[in-house]
Amino acid sequence: MSEKSEAEKEIDGETEVIPGPQTSIQEIEVGMFSLIMTLVNHYKVNLGFSKEISANKTAEVLERFAKVLRSSSTNQQ
């Protein structure tokens, strides 16, 4: 008899199934966006957006914020 695969063991109840995180990608995205924008607003960082932005711009916000941080750290050296 061939050895059972992990999936088969799971179906047969031989493997303990540990529930994974319930967090969705959207939740993480909004969280990261909120976190970065809280810092941006507090320190009055200009990310160069011309109008109000929302969480669908998270990737762009991260990119622009990273550039600001890199440039700021270069200036300090």
Binding site: Q22, T23, S24, Q26, E27, E29, V30, G31, M32, F33, S34, L35, M37, T38, L39, V40, N41, H42, E52, I53, S54, A55, N56
Partner: protein, 135 residues
Amino acid sequence: MLDARNLGVMTIGLVAEPELITMKDGKIVKMRVAVPFAGSEKNSEDKRGFFDVTYFANTSQQNAQFVLNQIEAGNFKPGTTLQVVYSLRQERWENEEGKKNQKVVLIAETINYAATNKPAETGTDAVDVALPATF
């Protein structure tokens, strides 16, 4: 004082209606919330932790206006899932008998609806809205 060394983001569930306190220089929002996987109790399956959240609503800030509008519209009901950017504050005091006490409070810096606003495990009626965080 906001400092990146004491700053985090978490998804919370409201367990009660927020309390709104009007001060001379703005409004303070006080909320009782449940946080998943933040509690520990011997012989209990309940893994939620319960915390007090304080939010200083400076109405010159866009997020404060949003939060106050949502509260006034009655949308922050028990069961609503929110996402908060917060810093921790440990309050310490001594009672009349000289016993030292402490309590951890979350100071909310930004409050938004969670992206997937679903009924919190704590609550009753979830609000059927899923607004993106907007700045």
